[in-house]
């Protein structure tokens, strides 16, 4: 596979369908799940026509596997997040059921978005496992597991430990971590309140629908007012039902914000990796320093620091010069090794910081652009809602004034 043929310009990816399936899971129990059809088209350079090159079905857990792999192999990259596993921040009309068709539809769009983000990332798009995800239906899972990425993953405990004990992390990462916490907190809050606002708005519109029914019944006993009442009632019905489309559009807006809510976690992952590497480096440097000191003490005979060997020597008698020589030699070897390791760790660390920061800058630009676009689209939605409102109420007013 030639890496260069892989970039958003050359291929089109879409998650075009979702299907309910039943199967047997690992414990041989029957389960229902949704499978998503991924279609890849290559775009002919000359005439812009697209040809369907691959099409296969994947379920959500396979997307998760892909992402976890990318997280391990590209720790310096802000890896795009997946759409939520379970529906959160729902307002009352939306179901929190994973099988609900509206939820499945929104998830389909979210998964497509995820693949597009990966395909347009300068580094991630070249990954072979990603390519196989799009092209190799059978055996893909085995292929991923064969990479042994799970073993390479840093343990959460180790990472947590590093976060607390690291002494000199790069300040920019500390700030970034702080930012990602704030981003997560404020978007969560926004989404929660937005859901409540949606609920209330739904209530206002729907209660007006009751006017429609009552006006219609009332018009039956009125001679002159009858027609006006009846037609006004119709407009009340139109008003009440218009809220459904309005709120559905808003749901897409909420999904755009949710993506950046989940991106906050991806940012934190990069920060954690830095802390881990930095901590590792600090430990290695500390270890080296103590070995050098030990060596020095043995060579000069002065004991500045407490050592068990030193104590036992005091208690059970001095060691022979040969023994001491041997120990010095071992230490010198270790020190050499340690210095090499420290050098390479330092280099690794600096490389990581450089690459990570480059991707973070790329991410920041993407985020500013996307969020601004989303916020503006929110304004556009509000404008559309207002225009509809003006139209319906103008019609209703005309009916009322003709009564």
């Amino acid at each position: 596979m030639t890496e260069n043929n892989f970039g958003l310009k050359k291929i089109e990816i879409s998650v075009s369908e979702a299907e309910k399936r039943t199967g047997r899971n690992a414990m041989n129990m029957q389960e229902t799940y949704t499978a998503y059809l991924i279609e890849t088209r290559s775009v002919e350079h000359t005439d812009g026509q697209s040809v369907l090159t691959d099409s296969l079905w994947r379920r959500y857990s396979e997307f998760e596997l892909l992402r976890n792999y990318l997280l391990v192999y590209y720790p310096h990259v802000v890896v795009p997040p997946l759409p939520e596993k379970r529906a959160e921040f729902v307002w009352h009309k939306l179901s929190a059921d994973n099988m609900d068709p509206d939820f499945v539809e929104r998830r389909r769009i979210g998964l497509e978005n995820f693949l597009l983000r990966v395909a347009s990332h300068p580094i991630l798009c070249r990954d072979k496992i990603f390519y196989l995800f799009l092209t190799q239906e059978g055996n893909w899972k085995e292929t991923v597991n064969e990479t042994g990425f799970q073993l390479k993953a840093d343990s959460r405990l180790k990472a947590l430990n590093a976060t607390f004990r690291v002494k000199n992390p790069d300040k920019r990462f500390t700030e970034l971590k702080h930012y990602s916490d704030e981003l997560q907190s404020v978007i969560s809050h926004l989404l929660r309140v937005r859901a409540r606002v949606a609920d209330r708005l739904y209530g206002v519109y729907k209660v007006h629908g009751n006017y429609g029914r009552v006006f219609s019944e009332w018009s039956a006993i009125e001679k002159e007012m009858g027609d006006g009442l009846q037609s006004a009632g119709h407009h009340m019905d139109v008003y009440a039902s218009s809220i459904d489309d309005i709120l559905e559009d808003e749901e897409h807006y909420a999904d755009q914000l949710k993506e950046y809510l989940f991106y906050a976690e991806a940012l934190r992952a990069v920060c954690r990796k830095h802390e881990l590497m930095q901590y590792d480096l600090e430990m290695a440097a500390q270890d080296l320093a103590s070995k050098k000191q030990q060596c020095e003490e043995l060579a000069t005979g002065t004991v500045r620091t407490f050592s068990l060997k030193g104590m036992t020597t005091k208690l059970f008698g001095q060691e022979t010069p040969e023994q001491r020589e041997a120990r010095i030699k071992v230490l010198e070897e270790q020190i050499n090794e340690g210095e090499q390791q420290l050098k390479s760790k330092n280099l690794e660390g600096r490389e990581f910081v450089k690459n990570a920061w480059a991707d973070i800058e790329r991410f920041k630009e993407q985020k500013n652009h996307d969020l601004k676009e989303a916020l503006i689209s929110y304004a556009v939605m509000q404008i559309s809602m207002c225009k509809k409102g003006i139209q319906v109420w103008t019609n209703a007013k005309e009916c009322f004034s003709k009564m």
Binding site: H189, G203, V204, M225, K372
Partner: protein, 390 residues
């Protein structure tokens, strides 16, 4: 001070003012202007109550003066209504606001309650003043002009409470009989009243519910806007956009509050008044049926020769006149009431529609101006695309 009883101080919409004047049967100008204001609390050892100031201005000859100022309490209004019903049993007397509001209000003297009641009492008196028959009622004149002690002594005259209670028991029996022999046109009227009552009650509930939902929407919006400001603190490049959205949400919230106040001033009181009117109408129907039944029972007695035929014939003659008067009075008043109702409902709902249009227009302007500011900024940013070749 403004002569007009519909002065700007009183919260009636211009549209309803025009309609109030339109339905005048006589082409004469209004010559009786009444305002109800200045609620005051009075505390005695026995009770606490509210009085309202009533100012009457008139050019009518039968009034001793051209201006009167009195204070009346709710009890006094109840008395007036009772006297009007007594004198004109088949006229559609305007409704009084309820004695108590069952839900929501715990305290009888809550400010909103008092204000709502004051407006309704104002309307009550003005409706009487505009009624071609009721406006010349003697008790009405006494109510508007007499000092407190004069009114008390005037009240003591007339049939006592006990005799009125006796009437009630007999009245129920009579009215049931009257239903059976009700003429066709009154059957139609009754049918209308039943359906109307049902529908107007529903509309009352729906309108109250809308008000409540709008209130809750407004409350949530108050929390929604500021979150965007909070967010802008951590986003250098999005500060303008986020603050802009917060400001739009805030303005829309204020527009909602205005819409709500329009609802509570124009629509809710009118709908509620007609809920009370519908109860009133059912009472009028009953009284008409009672009068009819009185005649029918006498006619039956004559047929069965139960008592002195000459006396009965005389009584029947009188009752026939009474029935004819009652029916005619009701018919005329019914037409008038239908006409008024149509105008009142029409203007109340037209006002509501207008409020909503205004609300959406305001919000639209807010969001459009925000969008314009954002896209202008957008265009100022250097384009990343290659320049077009023409």
């Amino acid at each position: 001070m403004d002569m007009n009883s519909f002065s700007p101080m009183m919260p009636t919409s211009p549209l309803s003012m025009i309609n109030q004047v339109k339905f005048e049967d006589e082409p004469d100008l209004k010559d009786l202007f009444i305002t109800v204001d200045e609620p005051e609390s009075h505390v005695t050892t026995i009770e606490t109550f509210i009085t309202y100031r009533i100012i009457t201005k008139t050019s009518r000859g039968e009034f001793d003066s051209s201006e009167f100022e009195v204070r009346r309490r709710y009890q006094d209004f109840l008395w007036l209504k009772g006297k009007l019903e007594e004198a004109h049993p088949t006229l559609i007397i305007p409704p009084l606001p309820e004695k108590f509001i069952v839900k929501g209000m715990v305290e009888r003297f809550n400010d909103d309650f008092i204000e709502t009641r004051r407006k309704a009492l104002h309307k009550f008196l003005n409706r009487i003043a505009d009624h071609p028959t009721l406006t010349f009622n003697e008790d009405f004149k006494v109510f508007l002009t007499a000092q407190a002690w004069e009114l008390s002594s005037h009240k003591k005259q007339g049939p006592g409470l006990l005799s009125r209670m006796g009437q009630t028991v007999r009245a129920v029996a009579l009215s049931m009989r009257g239903v059976k022999s009700r003429p066709e046109e009154f059957m139609e009227m009754n049918n209308f009243i039943e359906v109307f009552s049902q529908k107007i009650n529903l509309i009352d509930k729906i309108s109250q519910r809308i008000y409540k939902e709008e209130r809750e929407y407004s409350d949530e919006m108050k929390e929604y806007g500021p979150i965007h400001i909070l967010w802008s603190a951590s986003e250098e490049d999005l500060v303008d956009t986020l603050k802009g959205i917060a400001s739009c949400i805030d303005k829309c919230c204020k527009a909602t509050e205005k819409r709500m106040s329009g609802l509570s001033e124009a629509l809710l009181p009118v709908v509620h008044e007609y809920v009370l009117y519908s109860e009133m109408l059912m009472g009028v129907m009953k009284r008409r049926d009672q009068i009819q039944a009185e005649l029918d029972s006498k006619v039956e007695a004559l047929t069965n020769k139960k008592a002195d035929t000459d006396l009965l014939t005389e009584e029947i003659g009188k009752l026939e006149d009474k029935v004819e008067c009652a029916n005619n009075a009701l018919k005329a008043d019914w037409e008038r009431w239908r006409h008024n109702m149509q105008n009142d409902i029409k203007s109340a709902f037209t006002d509501m529609a207008e409020e909503n249009i205004h609300y959406y227009e305001q919000c639209l302007a807010t969001w459009e101006s925000f969008l314009a500011s954002q896209t202008d900024l957008h265009m100022e940013e250097p384009s990343e695309d290659k320049p077009e070749s023409h």
